[in-house]
């Protein structure tokens, strides 16, 4: 694998020479290309079928949305829609498009394209991943054209964050895809084999060349609508090259060799090797990802060994004891070299607006863990082994994704922490597909270490984690009705905050949700890694964010400082 990567490296060594010179007479910032790495090649350019991150990275560079969430401020800002107003009851939004918008092929964008776009995404037959986001209170949103520049969106009931709903919804060109949609072949359009010129969007770049499995080259979209403060058309860069680099070690080597301009998300250890002035290294601080230990509390395991263990996992004192025995500071220090934040709840320090600051952060205490276990009827053998009421030795297995070494390290630390209170823990690193299958579909696991990286700072982005009917309610998903009173309480709070529009009131409700989670500990929150990014020091406007894409979110504003552009 390394050897393979090295061969690709040699083959592509000529890339650096391909940088085009700045056009004469252009602005000082205009020109040059940016070379970045992705873990795998994009699978498609079709927004209707894309769910994987490398494809999304390309998708978000070649498309634009009506209303955009600023990745640094978390606030909504106008994109293709210049302005929007909500009706008094909060059920109708009127959006005004910018005048003179054009797709990357020069064709005008009108309200008809917007109506077509939502028709496509809401089509049940297509089952687009965007559909769930556009369904409010069980009913799809309604979109109708008023005139060429005005659209009205209607919701079944008031929705607190209706404007955030439009983020990432790529507007599709009816003149290109209309026929395919009518013929029922939309899902087969815009594959990696499609001629780049017929892939049309409204983003800062458009596809120029695709070498499957090797690289995707995007070029400046001359019809892009956005301008900088001086009225100059964006983006500044002429080209954006996305290379397929399968491992983070290989990415680091190529970044250090100067072939890549940005190193996105190095590990803490790699990051340390980049600090020292040669590169522009940015520790953005904690992101929105929260890592946790969760026990399987699903029903339907009666009579199995899991059911016997669930008798322990189901006891709140048992879970609290686990939480008290785990050394979060050690995780921060040993797994992330200090570049992480210990967690006692799902909301990280990056999201101060929504964090409940009154949740306690008790330090590790083996004594407290023992006291809680004793309280719950557990005892110890002379050699320190923990026994339950029936005299059975307490032991369980933790599954973890083999592709996430940091979670395996957390598991090893927790294994040692829990050994101190007499619990024998085994760890099974599983291939990612098998891991997800056991976790979400088969529910065949005892405990699991996993992480969720919220896509947005708003609590609604994780509603399927907190609702007992949610498919990511990992301790007991898809429940027909809430199994415990406190889960019922969380359900009510989460549902209510969705329709309340006063932010203060929503914050109060979500604070209560966080307090309930901290009290009952269905998930034992561990740590949130810092977002680390590095770039060549001459890359201008480089302002990594805590939301993805951490480095490229403002790619239209990135530029090469004069001296470095060749």
């Amino acid at each position: 694998m390394r050897i393979g990567a090295f061969c690709v490296l040699l083959c592509l060594a000529g890339l650096a020479e391909q940088r085009t010179p700045a056009p004469a007479g252009g602005s000082a910032r205009r020109g040059g290309q940016l070379v970045v790495a992705e873990r795998s090649a994009p699978r498609s350019f079709n927004p209707v079928v894309i769910t994987d991150n490398p494809s999304k990275t390309v998708l978000e560079r070649i498309n634009a949305d009506l209303i955009h969430i600023n990745r640094r401020t978390f606030k909504t800002e106008p994109a293709l829609a210049a302005s929007w107003t909500a009706s008094r009851d909060g059920r109708e939004y009127t959006l005004k498009l910018r005048p003179g918008l054009k797709f990357s092929d020069g064709h005008a964008l009108t309200a008809d394209d917007v109506v077509f776009t939502f028709q496509v995404y809401l089509d049940e037959k297509l089952a687009a991943p965007q559909r769930d986001l556009l369904v409010v209170a069980g009913k799809p949103i309604g979109v109708r054209k008023v005139d060429d520049l005005t659209i009205v969106v209607s919701l079944a009931e008031a929705y607190a964050v209706a404007d955030r709903m439009f983020d990432g919804i790529a507007i599709l060109p009816r003149h290109v895809l209309g026929a395919a949609y009518a013929a029922g072949t939309l899902a087969q359009q815009w594959t990696v084999a499609t001629a780049p010129a017929s892939i049309v969007g409204t983003g800062p770049f458009r596809v120029s060349e695709v070498v499957p499995g090797e690289r995707v080259v995007l070029e400046r979209n001359p019809h892009y609508w956005k301008r900088d403060g001086h009225g100059e058309a964006l983006p500044y860069l002429d080209r954006l090259v996305l290379l397929t680099v399968p491992s983070t070690d290989a990415e680091l080597l190529r970044f250090k060799a100067g072939e890549l301009d940005v190193m996105s998300r190095p590990t803490a250890e790699q990051f340390e090797s980049l600090t020292g002035g040669q590169y522009n290294t940015v520790d953005v601080g904690p992101g929105l990802e929260y890592n946790f230990l969760v026990f399987n509390l699903s029903d339907g395991a009666a009579g199995t060994p899991l059911a016997r263990r669930q008798a322990w996992f189901g006891q709140e004192d048992f879970r609290r004891a686990m939480s008290a025995a785990i050394d979060r500071q050690a995780i921060v220090k040993l797994v992330y070299r200090g570049r992480a934040e210990p967690l006692w709840g799902p909301i990280t320090g990056a999201n101060a607006a929504w964090r409940n600051t009154s949740i306690p952060h008790p330090p590790r205490s083996v004594d407290r863990a023992r006291q809680l276990l004793r309280q719950a009827g557990f005892t110890w053998r002379d050699d320190g082994t923990l026994l339950d009421r029936a005299g059975t030795q307490v032991e369980f297995n933790i599954i973890v994704s083999a592709s996430r070494p940091e979670r395996q390290q957390m598991a090893t630390l927790i294994q040692s922490d829990l050994a101190e209170i007499g619990i024998r823990v085994t760890i099974s690193p599983l291939e990612f597909g098998a891991f997800v299958d056991r976790l979400t579909r088969k529910r065949d696991f005892e405990a699991c270490i996993h992480g969720i990286g919220s896509g947005d700072a708003d609590p609604n982005s994780d509603v399927n984690v907190w609702l007992s009917s949610g498919n990511l309610h990992l301790w007991n998903p898809n429940a027909a009705k809430p199994p415990t009173p406190w889960e019922a309480q969380i359900d009510t709070l989460m549902r209510n905050q969705m329709s309340v529009r006063a932010t203060g009131e929503r914050k109060r409700m979500f604070n209560e949700v966080q307090a309930l989670l901290a009290e009952h500990e269905p998930m034992i929150f561990l740590a949130s890694p810092h977002i680390l990014v590095a770039a060549k020091p001459t890359l201008g406007n480089f302002q990594p964010a805590v939301l993805p894409h951490y480095a490229l979110w403002n790619v239209d504003e990135l530029y090469w400082r004069a001296a470095s552009r060749d």
Binding site: L334, R337, W380, D383, T412, I427, S428, P429
Partner: protein, 349 residues
């Protein structure tokens, strides 16, 4: 022994090799006593500590017969960079007894050597969790070698049975078994091993995982010794003393056990030694891919997996200690195989 070596030199070499082999196995067998620490104990305040230096000369230049160690302190502002602070020292003692945590109490443990607490003696440094690499290396060797020897036993048992049947019975049995042997030999066994292990349940407690690896290795490694056994048995079948025994009315099992197997013993011993060497490497490879023995049981493969980091060679080179261990074990077993190889000059005519 190679022709041309003087008998005396050969005897010395043989003796030295024997001593090395015995020493290696004694150390590995006595690992819990030789190793100064529990291999799973995490010294979380000193991860990635470099090997502790043994000092013989103190700060005023005086020599000490008994070595001592200095305290190590963090370099402020860095993670996992240490410097020695010889203002605090502790002697290293041999044959120590000390109290170690056991459950919520302590118990007495004996070790070959150890530095006086609170200072530590990490002969080969520590890993990412602050576990003593030297202790893990020794206990990992125990795990790896025990599994390799057991697997070699399984493989040889299969080889002797199939080889004896094929070589003695001949005919269809020979053709069938030989074809099977050729097939197994033709397979890329390492990949097959990884595929077979990956197809089995991953969530196994350490003892079952070890048993499974032993069986897997055994069932994939019998072909080459099987062929050797077959050739030896087939050759012996035609010898006069075997024919004489047969004419005298001896039963087939008696002929096999009394007259043919002694010939096979030498072949099998050498094959076994070669297999152990191969299997140690195979087990390490499996564990390296995360398919071997699960944490926290130390194994050379899992240790090397943790050493897979971009700057291991320059920054944390001591994590590569299992590589040295592998080379030593392989060399000792290789030399052993050469020495045990039946000498054509002293063979039966």
């Amino acid at each position: 022994m190679r022709r041309g070596t003087s008998p005396k030199a050969a005897r010395v070499a043989r003796g030295a090799l024997l001593a090395a082999t015995v020493l290696l196995h004694v150390v590995i067998l006595a690992a819990p006593w030789v190793a100064p620490y529990d291999p799973a104990a995490q010294h979380r305040d000193v991860p990635f500590a470099p090997p502790t230096r043994l000092h013989f000369v103190d700060r005023v230049g005086r020599w000490h017969a008994q070595p001592f160690v200095c305290a190590i302190v963090h370099v402020p502002g860095t993670f996992f960079r240490y410097v020695e602070d010889c203002a605090t020292t502790a002697p290293v003692r041999a044959f120590v007894r000390r109290q170690e945590p056991f459950g919520f109490t302590t118990r007495e443990a004996r070790h070959l050597f150890s530095a006086d607490p609170p200072l530590d003696l990490f002969l080969f440094g520590t890993d990412e969790f602050g576990r003593d690499v030297f202790s893990r290396l020794l206990l990992g060797a125990r795990v790896s070698l025990a599994m390799a020897i057991a697997a070699a036993g399984v493989a040889l048992a299969i080889a002797v049975v199939t080889g004896a049947i094929a070589g003695y019975a001949g005919g269809f049995a020979d053709t069938a078994i030989s074809a099977g042997t050729e097939l197994v030999l033709g397979l890329p066994w390492l990949y097959l091993l990884i595929a077979a292990r990956a197809a089995m349940p991953l969530a196994l407690p350490p003892p079952q995982a070890m048993a499974m690896i032993v069986i897997l290795l055994g069932f994939l490694g019998w072909a080459r010794p099987g062929r050797l056994v077959r050739a030896t048995v087939a050759a012996a079948r035609g010898r006069e003393y075997v024919m004489a025994a047969r004419t005298a009315g001896a039963s087939t099992p008696r002929i096999l056990i009394r007259h043919i197997l002694p010939d096979v013993t030498a072949v099998v011993t050498v094959a076994g030694v070669v297999l152990v060497r191969q299997f140690v490497v195979a087990e390490t490879t499996l564990s390296l891919f995360g398919l071997g023995v699960p944490e926290p049981v130390p194994s050379w493969g899992t240790m090397l997996a943790a050493a897979q980091r971009p700057r291991a060679l320059t920054e944390t080179w001591w994590l590569l200690a299992p590589v040295v261990g592998l080379i030593v074990v392989c060399m000792v077993y290789y030399a052993l195989a050469r020495v045990l190889r039946p000498d054509p000059l002293h063979n039966r005519p």
